[in-house]
């Protein structure tokens, strides 16, 4: 029984990372109606920035952390300007292709600069963790879960109770009407990309000590985050979070009880199963998009 709780804990921990990245996915999707296939690279780039600042340059951890998040804000802005903005009046297909191109470009440029050797990033906290009964609670996982809870709460408050949040919501619901009401739509979309890059980056920095920092972490995380959004119901913020947690748990149990080499395959199987049998997700009522 203890092993079940142990796996559940780890599943929720890794699922929190998927949930955060999924959140970034959903925000960009709602603002632009485009799925960003380079979302996972937000996490990867942030983790590499951490490696540069804290490992290579040996700067203090928290300064590196702030610099990395700042770097992600700039990266998000550049990403928008280079990959989405010039194509905003075209159909979804060119935009998908362009984000796929960006994903390939960024991950392989990193490979060219850093080589295939995975980098190691130290955990933020010094103490390793503690036991409750026979269940071992790793500090890094606890941190991830804690930060996710805080961020989700913050985001709820931000979107529901601030003017800027309402403007962002208006933009995602009807761009034309929003701009007629004097909301600077281009700026709102820019903010969305910046924020999405920052939370994706935060997820990457937190998961880095667990997964190693490699150029493949982006693609894997992105696909799982996407699977999470499908499970929860596409475009739904709460659905993305619950879907992310569910996927983390499914995957952890699958690896423990079914097969380790196919661990990454479970996400895809779940994804395909949902897409074929219940494309609207667990909570969704909406009919699948007719793109």
């Amino acid at each position: 029984m203890d092993i079940v709780f142990q796996l559940l804990f780890q599943g929720i921990g890794i699922g929190s990372v998927y949930a955060l990245v999924a959140l970034g996915f959903v925000l960009i999707f709602r603002a632009t109606n485009v799925v960003n296939f380079a979302q996972g690279e937000f996490s990867m780039v942030a983790a590499f920035l951490m490696v540069i600042f804290s490992v290579d340059l040996e700067w203090p951890y928290w300064i590196s952390f702030l610099l990395s998040l700042g770097g992600m804000a700039i990266y998000g802005a550049l990403f928008n300007l280079g990959v989405y903005f010039p194509l905003r009046h075209r159909t979804y297909l060119p935009v998908i292709i362009s984000t796929i191109g960006a994903s390939i470009l960024v991950s392989n440029s990193t490979l060219a600069l850093y080589g295939p050797q995975p980098q190691v990033l130290q955990p933020l906290l010094d103490f390793p963790g503690f036991n409750i009964g026979t269940v071992y609670l790793d500090a890094q996982y606890l941190l991830i879960i804690g930060v996710t809870v805080v961020l989700v709460a913050f985001q709820y408050w931000f979107f529901e109770h601030t003017l800027l949040g309402k403007k962002l919501q208006a933009t995602s619901q009807d761009k034309e009407m929003a701009s007629l009401l004097g909301i600077p739509v281009a700026t709102m979309i820019m903010l969305t990309f910046v924020y999405s890059a920052m939370i994706g980056g935060l997820a990457g920095i937190m998961v880095a000590p667990i997964l190693f920092v490699s150029i493949h972490m982006g693609g894997t995380i992105a696909l799982k985050a996407f699977a999470a959004t499908i499970i929860g119901g596409f475009g739904d913020v709460a659905g993305a979070i619950i879907g992310g947690l569910a996927l983390g748990v499914i995957e952890t149990f699958g690896a423990a009880y079914v097969s380790v080499p196919y661990k990454d395959g479970f996400a895809f199987l779940v994804l395909v199963a949902f897409l074929v049998f219940r494309p609207q997700g667990i909570f969704g009522e909406r009919v699948a998009e007719k793109a």
């Binding site: 292709i97 362009s98 960006a102 994903s103 392989n108 060219a112 080499p261 994804l271 395909v272 494309p279």
Partner: protein, 591 residues
Amino acid sequence: MSSMIDIYRASAQRKQRGLLAYIALIAVLVYVAATTTFDGYVTNILMQAVTYSVAVMGLTVVLGLCGQINLAQAAFFGLGAYAVGLGTVDYGLSYWICMGLGLAVVLAFGAFLGTSTIRLGGHYLAMVTISFQQILTLVMINWIPVTHGPDGVSRILKPSLFNTPQSYLAFCVVVLAVVGYLVWQLPSTKLGRAMRAVRDNELAAGVTGIDIQRTKVTAFAICALLGGLGGGLFAGGFSYVSPDQFSFAESIVFLTMVLLGGVASPIGAVIGTGLLILIPEWLRFLKSIPGLYLAIYGLAVILIVLFMPDGIWGFVVQRFKNLRGALRLSAELPELTLVQTQAHADDVLVVNNLAKHFGGLKAVDDISFVVKRGSVHALIGPNGSGKTTTLNVLSGLYTPTAGAVQLDGQDITHFAPHERTASGLGRTFQNIRLFRSMTALENVIIGVERPGNPVDHAPIALEARARSALNFVGLGDRADELVTSFSYGHQRLIEIARALAGNPTLLLLDEPAAGLNSTEKMELRDLLKRIAAKGLTILIIDHDMTLVSEVAEHITVLNFGRRIADGDPVSVLNHPDVVTAYLGSDANAAH
């Protein structure tokens, strides 16, 4: 003036000469490939270019023609390659049997992934195909007893008929030539037009009688099949396959090839493939730094999408389009005939107690009316009266909450849009829905191809009927222009011609006067009278009272989702409830 048959014969002769030239060119290439002894390096590059081109042409079909994304072409390519590899090496089967089995497997997977397009467009499809690609890669690496795992399969046999590299290369060139010819011809076939229609405007494709789901699944299956074929040829050519040759990165390479060359034509596929195989060979030094080479691919994808959306071949075609000059003879065409299927009864459309509720909102509430054969019937009502909802229920875009719809004695209540069209329903849209990448003629030909249209479906007859329909609406001399070059009013006429060409039993016109100026409205009124004179039954939905009262013989009025009046124009337009609905209750009080 020459007859339609002369023009058709001339164009058929031109096509035949083109085909002969093509065969001659291929014969030369095959001869060169079969007789020249290249060194191994050159043979390998040529072999790769030829086999990849076959797979990339699959993307020309699914992405270029049908507008669906497939990010798993390397997986299909790999399935074909492993079928030939494992079959000839582990099971000692003949090359041809392995190729056949491989194609069967690929076709099955392609059709399965294709069925997921039925409910899912765009992003979902991209994700499904990526997932398929990743799962297949995992299986290739980890199912070691069957696939040999990361080591791959070596010493794959070529077919005994083409046992030397030269003869095998020549064989591959022939396969590529045949595939290229078929893909080149596809856009002007019925299937190809259906794919383009689905890509341009799915909704309109459905109501012109195209089975959208079948079209997409077919496109996907063809794409997978060409991927598997290319892979099978590749395995024979290189004698060695391993999982990393068929990874997601390779799917991106395939995508880049088709985008660079141009998605619209198999020539683009060959150009893109050739360039992306040769350029990395010239820039071999790039491969010394891992990642750099793919990073440049990624950058190239973004730059192509941004600056050259039609690819290299699209760019070339654009430049030379004006030089080709469409010198078309105007032909004497027969007057458009509207064949009516055997009349079952006097009532063409019977709507019984129809209701459509959206949650608590009763947009249409218990409406009944009958459209008589040969009449012009109008359905009118103020904004929010339920006209458009009724129309959408009639054409199958909404499922009714209750009630039934009969067309010519047949219950069509639960038919999909394209099935209704097959039963004889033709329609136009308030906001025009034409296939924007096609000419006026091609749009109308799709109308002629309506399933169940009782006319000759031979190519020459199709074209003649489409031209007659365009003549009938007064646009015959501009038939070969792209629809985007027509004015708004003329686009509406093309839409009407498209519907007429299909010989509908009932023509539904959704606010045909919307957005037209007064001259265009008069022309429309005359056209509608000419259509009615041919005996076609018309249901017109509009709120332009002048138009309606001039052309309609029978009017049904809706308000707040209910029928408030039904009868001949004079009595209906003087009906107190109708006056109230249109002019407000003060007018009623004055009575």
